[in-house]
Amino acid sequence: MPYKYKVYKLIFAFFSFIAMSLVYILLGFILYKGFSFISFELIFSDTNAIDALLLKQRVFDGIFPAIIGTFMLIILALSFSLIFGFASGIYLSIYAKNSTKRIVNLCFELLASVPSILIGLFFLLLSIYLHDKFQANFMPSLLLASLALGILIMPYLVQNTRLSLDNIPKDIKQIGINLGLSPTQNLFKVLLPYCSKELLSGIFLSLGRACEDTAVIMLTGAVASAGIAASVFDRFEALPFYIYYLSTNYADEKELSQAFAASLILLFIALFLFLLTKIIQKKFRNYYGYN
């Protein structure tokens, strides 16, 4: 083996090892600090777990409402942004002319680079404006926060869909057309199933992004203690905000440890979403028969 090859291999392996170690140190630290504090009490406080799960009793001091709030938030945010993200990505990759492609692409890239606090601020001001101008009942709420989060994750969905379609080999793109499929049939029967794995990965990454963002939701409806939102027009609790709130306002070591335990639960949610994505990816591939 040439000497240079070994040197480069060593350098790249070193940096890769450092990067990997940092991630594991971070995860290990949260695990160490938070794992022993994960308990039924942390989640449900002194409320009966079954009653809480069946929504018969409200949980006051536990993070159960924040967990439910997080799920509601990301599901709503995804449902607002998914169709726009997919449709825009497909348009950019398949239908748009190069000049249009450049302009629309630039818009989504700019949107992706907007700090989330600005998106939160925009939606907060929008709700105030609508309230003042039209007496609209569009105050900070689960709906407003979901819309803002939807806007936040949309560029990721657009770019992921576009890149997934762009990266399909030319041969695969042409088989259907060459054998008499219309571009629409080719899109739905060949191209989208072919890149379903990448599309679902994009959804997972977007969900992860929506899951962890605090800046947007703290301005648009998340509060420390609201219970489970009865409707989308109510304020809500969410884990990232709970973690932020506890870690900046903790009264004692126990509360700080609770923040670490909540962080760990947030990580478990991300892991759950990751595994769910993998299962759905496999089902999709099996359904379409793609190898």
């Binding site: 041969d171 042409q174 060459n178 054998l179 008499g180 499929l181 028969g289 793609y290 190898n291």
Partner: protein
């Protein structure tokens, strides 16, 4: 069946070929021969209009073909008519273009998309036709990319037969096959009652197959 009148093809400044005149007869085999790079494949791609896909060629002349019962110049067809045309005039590439599916699914996929009746039975039939059935009958659900180059080439030929085209365009269909198989495929093609246009570099194949030869 197809009449080509003064057909010229170029891309911006690059001329591909000029003034081609050719009559492709029904249920006969027309063999196209010529040195590499003269535009043989491009000529086939003009016939099913794939030349226009993802490119803006300058095409002059006519390709007359009875499409939907009317004698039509294929160069004047609209985009939405081309899909129907490509169901009738099928091009089989010299490089096997398969979907990342199993052998069976690669055949069934397009049969389903084109609503071919009883395609399940026809799949075995076409695999037998291209002498592939015996080799794959126990592994029909194996990834098609695991087949050898020659087997893949026969699989795309089987796929074309399954779709039952009116005109079959074959671009060096036996290039990856051994001599024995190539001869079998040639014989099979001779026995088809189908309009076939073949690009070939093999003198013996030209001699065996050609009802008509077009030399570039």
């Amino acid at each position: 069946m197809v009449t080509i009148n003064n057909l010229s093809l170029s891309f911006e400044d690059k001329k591909i070929f000029e003034n081609i005149n050719l009559h492709i007869e029904k249920n006969k085999i027309t063999v196209i021969i010529g040195p590499s790079g003269v535009g043989k494949t491009s000529l086939l791609l003009c016939l099913n209009q794939m030349i226009k896909h993802d490119a803006k060629p300058i095409i002059k002349g006519q390709i007359l073909y009875t499409f939907k019962g009317i004698k039509t110049d294929l160069n004047s067809l609209k985009e939405n008519e081309l899909y129907e045309l490509r169901k009738e005039i099928i091009y089989v590439s010299q490089h096997p273009d398969l979907l990342p599916l199993s052998i069976y699914e690669n055949l069934a996929f397009f049969a389903k998309a084109h609503n071919i009746p009883n395609y399940e039975e026809k799949i075995n039939e076409v695999l037998k036709k291209v002498y592939l059935y015996e080799e794959v009958k126990d592994n029909l659900y194996m990834d098609a990319s695991k087949l050898s180059g020659g087997q893949q080439q026969r699989l795309i030929l089987a796929r074309a037969f399954l779709l039952n085209p009116k005109v079959l365009l074959l671009d060096e269909p036996t290039a990856s096959l051994n001599e024995e198989l190539a001869l079998k495929i040639e014989k099979m093609l001779q026995n088809q009652k189908m309009t076939i246009v073949i690009i070939s570099h093999f003198k013996s194949q030209v001699k065996n197959l050609a009802d008509k030869i077009y030399r570039f």
